[in-house]
């Protein structure tokens, strides 16, 4: 293997170890008796870090042109932000179920 290839593999192994550590932390957090909203924030933070690592190093998005990276990031950010907009409505449904209120 060439020197460049060997250093590339070392980078991949380092990212792999980082992903293992982050995932292990998620399992540890899962077993703690944290409140639901705290769990969501912690898991979401770890998931974002994992996504960045995988996209940049494993899927090699970082080696693409700046134009494509911008297109990908902006498009995905917009789609994911708008798709999550609907989720917030579940609080309304939860309130109805907890209070027994049913709008006519």
């Amino acid at each position: 293997m060439t020197t460049a290839g060997a250093s590339g593999m070392k980078k991949y192994v380092a990212v792999y170890v980082a992903l293992l550590v982050i995932t292990a932390l998620q399992f540890v957090i899962g077993y703690q008796n944290a409140e639901g909203s705290q769990l969501v924030v912690r898991f979401a933070t770890f998931a974002v870090i994992e996504t960045i690592l995988v996209l940049l190093f494993f899927m090699n998005l970082g080696t693409e042109t700046p134009g494509f990276i911008k297109f990908f990031v902006y498009f995905m950010a917009f789609v994911l932000a708008t798709i999550n907009y609907g989720w917030t409505d579940s609080f309304r449904l939860l309130l109805f179920r907890l209070t027994g209120y049913m709008p006519s």
Binding site: Y12, Y16, T23, L80, N84, L93, L98
Partner: protein, 206 residues
């Protein structure tokens, strides 16, 4: 049309717009597929989050997630072996690339078997699409749809990987095709890293 006209036409044609993303068409198609798949998975996860949040008595049936931990380790390791295959393919070491792809496929098969075993365990407890022993009927449908969609990607992806490996070894595919498959495999590995906390870790029995 005469040859002279064709030549003149070619010369008088306006210059083509520069390619904005400067990547092979197949790779661009794969990225577009990934983007559409992100939307589908995101819709599944948002629907799951909606149901879970809106249901006060959502079941927490998972007493142990050891099996899920092993599955996650297998998935992450197969991501690394896929990268090893790509590295070998880029230096045209066909034998090594094929071997690493087969290791990755073995990971995919093992993951699929463990996932099916996990499902069988849930079915034994009486969880189906329409009912479960703990209450809200939506739990089973949400659980099976989100994990099933991921399982479908991984199991079909494993078959596709074996095809890519055989064709690569036979000379029909090259390192670019291995790279395309690597993007897909890394993506489904990443999706699993979202499913684990959302479906399993947030529903551990307390």
């Amino acid at each position: 049309m005469s040859e002279a006209h064709l030549t003149m036409g070619a010369h008088s044609a306006p210059p083509m717009e520069a390619r904005p993303f400067v990547m092979p068409s197949k790779k661009f198609a794969m990225w577009l597929f990934i983007m559409s798949d992100v939307m589908t998975f995101a819709a599944c996860m948002v629907a799951y989050g909606f149901l879970r949040n809106a249901t006060p008595e959502w079941p927490r049936p998972f007493h142990s997630v050891t099996s899920v931990g092993v599955m996650t380790l297998i998935m992450l390791t197969s991501s690394l072996t896929m990268l090893m295959a790509l590295g070998a393919a880029k230096v045209t070491d066909k034998a090594r690339a094929f071997r690493w792809m087969m290791f990755t496929a073995a990971g995919g098969v093992l993951f699929t078997l463990l996932h099916i075993r996990d499902w069988m365990g849930m079915m034994d407890q009486g969880v189906s699409l329409l009912k479960n022993p703990w209450g809200p009927a939506a739990f089973g449908a949400a659980f099976y749809s989100i994990t099933g969609f991921s399982l479908a990607h991984i199991s079909i992806g494993t078959i596709a990987l074996i095809v890519v490996a055989i064709r690569y070894q036979g000379g029909r595919y090259n390192a670019d095709d291995v790279e395309l498959f690597n993007i897909f495999w890394q993506f489904i590995g990443l999706v699993w890293l979202f499913i684990v906390p959302l479906v399993y870790l947030m529903n551990l029995a307390r």
